[in-house]
């Protein structure tokens, strides 16, 4: 049952559609929920951890018996190879921590991979919804609906004053982390990114790299999320993030406009050089690929390159990750072989459609 999730690279969030899809790659909502009857996951012994997984699995089955959420699939992580779990991490379906220690943990995923529920990660349930583009309200409605369905079957730990109770006090209250992943190459090129993004922390926002906590911002991709979960309603948190995202979009568009006006030739040169390297390289590191793909994406957004779709570019964010490259080769491959395989895949993907410039 799980094969489709590790064999295909494409998830819903990579479709490249949605509002402001050229700058906002995806919108995500994560809700932390706990069962009121058992200690938090880090204190559970293996019997109780299994019990949590079973309770949530049972809840899903009884929901499905009532014709609800038919497209959610329960996955036993123990059946997956470490490499396959790494792919789920690259596709943003599970967290790295969830892939490392699998005993007593579980996963529920929707067929289009827009909904995933992590069982026994930091909290008993982590409900996550991921959509392409700037669609925070839509994602919130979806996440809240999944939350309501499971709440109809399970008793969640909730305090009238403190809200949803979570293992870590930084999540208590709404238990919600809302985030948008944005591609901001022009802000980086015009040296504005660090200043603009640093000021976001003063507004209670966090900025991270593509793969979440502790990761560097590669390929000019930034993940912006709310820091505070208590004292503000979900709608307030979302509308704050939406305002910030829209301002960043405006800034980015202004910077793009400026670059095009002042330095069109140089910009075109950079975009086409990046395209040239990607379509001809035989060995390429992840870092280099990410930064060149960012330039190709910019060129695509600005209408310079007409043969590459945003979906292909998003798909390549996952396809060029080490885990997926290994999966394709079907064995443990060295870093060098990986870089060669990456170059091959990028070439094939970019050249599938002939260039009609």
């Amino acid at each position: 049952m799980y094969e489709s999730f590790v064999n295909k690279a494409l998830s819903k969030w990579m479709e490249g559609t949605g509002d402001e899809g050229d700058i906002v790659i995806s919108s995500r909502i994560r809700l932390a929920r706990n069962l009121s009857t058992l200690p938090f996951p880090h204190l559970l012994n293996s019997t109780d951890a299994k019990k949590v997984v079973t309770m949530i699995h049972d809840a899903l089955q009884s929901l499905q018996a009532q014709e609800e959420e038919k497209d959610l699939v329960f996955i036993n992580l123990l059946e997956l190879q470490p490499m396959e779990r790494a792919i789920l991490v690259d596709k943003h379906l599970i967290s790295p921590q969830h892939a490392d220690e699998v005993a007593g943990r579980g996963l529920i995923v929707s067929l289009d991979e827009s909904v995933s529920i992590l069982i026994n990660e930091e909290d008993h349930l982590r409900i996550q919804c991921l959509y392409p583009g700037l669609e925070l309200e839509k994602v919130w409605n979806q996440a809240s609906k999944v939350d309501d369905l499971f709440e109809s079957q399970l008793d969640f730990a909730f305090d009238e004053k403190l809200g949803y109770l979570t293992a870590c006090p930084t999540n208590v209250g709404t238990g919600m982390r809302a985030s948008v992943m944005m591609h901001l190459p022009a802000l980086v090129m015009t040296n504005q990114a660090s200043r603009v993004l640093a000021s976001l922390t003063q507004l209670g926002m966090t900025v991270r790299g593509l793969f979440g906590e502790g990761t560097e911002a590669t390929g000019n991709l930034f993940q912006i999320s709310n820091q505070v979960t208590l004292g503000r309603s979900e709608e307030e948190i979302i509308s704050n993030l939406l305002v910030v995202a829209k301002q960043l979009i405006d800034q980015e568009r202004m910077a793009r406009h400026l670059l095009l006006k002042e330095t069109k030739k140089q910009l075109e040169d950079q975009v086409w050089r990046a395209y040239g390297i990607l379509t001809h390289a035989r060995v390429i590191s992840s870092q280099e690929a990410m930064s060149l793909l960012s330039k190709v994406r910019l060129g695509t957004d600005m209408g310079m390159i007409k043969t590459v779709s945003p979906q292909t570019l998003n798909e390549m964010l996952v396809l060029t990750r080490p885990a997926f490259l290994q999966k394709v080769k079907g064995k443990d491959i060295s870093a060098f072989e990986r870089d060669a395989q990456r170059a091959t895949i990028i070439r094939e993907k970019l050249l599938t459609e002939p260039l009609n410039q």
Binding site: F40, S144, F158, T229
Partner: protein, 174 residues
């Protein structure tokens, strides 16, 4: 060039160590280099985790080797439900169970003000475990709607909302 250690895979990590002027070079493959990770980082924890900051805020310094006075006094304090004590909690920056929040109430309040800047939830309320507050919140928002109708002089609509509020208040036993 092959890895100095396993001699099987090509060396991709090249390290030069200079200790007291003596230079030594090592060439390793990626997986062998992983094993030596600790040496190269001088045993430092490279990703200083959030929970250490939280630990500080929870009022306990995990670095201090000498137990302070208040530490030895607070040790026996345990959550009756899960048996987790406050010091364990402050070491990992997480609570043991949902009842810890109630049990360590006096400490939770100031902590949340520090990490969240607030100490009262104003968001979503679950249908079943939410108790009466869901109803109370709904009444509150209906009152706002009522005000809006009144100010727009749409009295028919306002009367309808007023009746709904009364009905809901009855449910609450007001």
């Amino acid at each position: 060039m092959y890895c100095d250690e396993c001699k099987k895979k090509p060396a991709t990590v090249h390290l030069t160590k200079i200790i007291n002027g003596e230079k030594s070079e090592v060439h390793l493959c990626e997986s062998c280099a992983q094993n030596h990770h600790k040496e190269w980082t001088f045993g430092l924890d490279e990703n200083f985790p959030l929970n250490k900051f939280l630990a500080g805020l929870l009022g306990y310094d995990p670095q201090s080797t000498q137990p302070s006075m208040n530490l030895s006094f607070s040790l026996p304090e345990k959550c009756e439900n899960c048996g987790f004590n406050y010091n364990q909690m402050s070491q990992i920056g997480r609570f043991g169970c949902n009842e810890c929040y109630e049990h360590f109430k006096e400490k939770v309040g100031p902590l949340l003000r520090r990490v969240q800047g607030a100490n009262r939830h104003t968001g979503k309320v679950p249908h079943r475990s939410g108790g009466t507050i869901r109803l109370e919140r709904e009444i509150q928002s209906l009152r706002q709607t009522l005000q809006e109708y009144v100010s727009r002089e749409e009295f028919e609509e306002a009367a309808r909302i007023r009746d709904r509020i009364r009905e809901m208040e009855k449910k609450l036993g007001h």
